[in-house]
Amino acid sequence: MQQLNIFKLILIGITGLVTLLLAITIGSLLFVPSLASIRQNLGSPELLYSLKLSLCTASAATLFVMLLALPVGYTMSRFQFAGRRLVKTVLDLPIAFPELVLGLCLLLFFGSDHVAAALKKVGIELVFTRQAIVAAQIFTALPYTIRIIRTTFDYVSPRYEFISRSLGYTHFETFMRVALPMAKKGILAAAVIAFARSIGAFGAVLILAGGTYMKTDVLPITLFLNISYGNLDLAVTAGLVMLAVSFLAIYIFEKTEADL
């Protein structure tokens, strides 16, 4: 008979326990409201508003994040330069940053009179507006996205690009024709994570955009507001919608990751 590997059994046991714990915790969201009240709340103008706002702002944020993260991620993956370590630390810093602190920093920066005046000239207002939501989401999602894109490019051997350049393509053409298509899946995964992070961004959005009811309340803010209002059912429904988005995001991410 096979001898028992106790260590392995314990590890599997702990893994099972943690999974169960997470599943039960997340699942508890499902059992609070009745199905009827979920359906009713899903149709409420409040939730529809914040869902629409969330989708719009998160899409815009994802677009900007990708436009920024692609060049930065590529740079950090490919190039050696003076101060690279410092740049890397600065880029990673917001990951370990509480979102509220990030929000405070954004408020202090974008709210300062000079910056606000300069931005206003080009039609951008980044305090208490929907643009502020997008800005907060961008800053929340950017560091994660840069990391994923950097890792993606790390997995693409630079040799492909050397070959492309030896065949007469400029660095930019090579980036477009070789690096981008080869990193396609990782980039898609990064976009999904960027979108999910943007949807879930709370602290920074609350502080920079203010979290005004029916004006700047995206899904997490709706959840928070309704807890304060004592309207638990609507809060839970908002939570369920976000849960669905995260599930979808993780599903797509896992799928693309598996193909990588």
């Binding site: 492909y160 350049r165 030896s166 065949l167 007469g168 393509y169 298509p181 080869m182």
Partner: protein
Amino acid sequence: MTLLRIENLQIQAGEFQLCDISFSISTGDYCIMAGETGAGKTFLLESIIGVHRCLNGRIYLDEKDITCMLPEYRGIGIVYQDHALFPHLNVFNNIAFGLKKQFPKKKRQEKVHAVAEALKIDHILKRPIDNLSGGEKQRVAIARAIVVRPRLLLMDEPFSALDPLTRQKMRRLLRRVIRQHRMTVLHISHDPADMWLLANKVAYMHEGRLLQFDTLETMLNNPAHEKVSEFFGRPSNRGKRIRFFPPRPAATREAY
């Protein structure tokens, strides 16, 4: 006529560096470069195509200083051991990749078919690259590099991942194609058979230095460095070589 001339080249990559590399290759030469793993051979090839920044020294191509020229303007092709075919393109588009900027579609097709025929891969042009055999992949990689008629072709152990029989076939095929296209080649290999069959010059690198660059006969009989004699064999006191380097294969002698 000298095609490639390298003078006192010095390049740094992290801890590793190439020191004081000097040699020249004439038009029509076929050079094979050997050396232990980590000697800097691949790095040297990549420096010649221009993707690493030089600290010191100069590289001339056709007597023109290309030390600071971007890779895309040098016209030097490269083939890697792991073939590095673009996974998002099929065989045809891999080969046609370098032609896209210069030639119209019709001309591209002609050129690809010609080189594919020469390398006996014209039957797989429509296939995606991930279900090719090792030998086929390597031929596609070579086709991709030579279809643009590079002034100089660099190859980094193109056969080392192949089984001996395929390697033998590839070697002959390559020799024919190279001669047909009258190409100048710098080829990294440890295989004595490659040196005997393909090369008219041989080089040996060790720890970022080029120890010797000469004909194979000279390398065998007059090694300039202990490491060279270790690799190619050293005449002992009794006139016999210790560490036997195999003689030219008899079967191919007349063909050569």
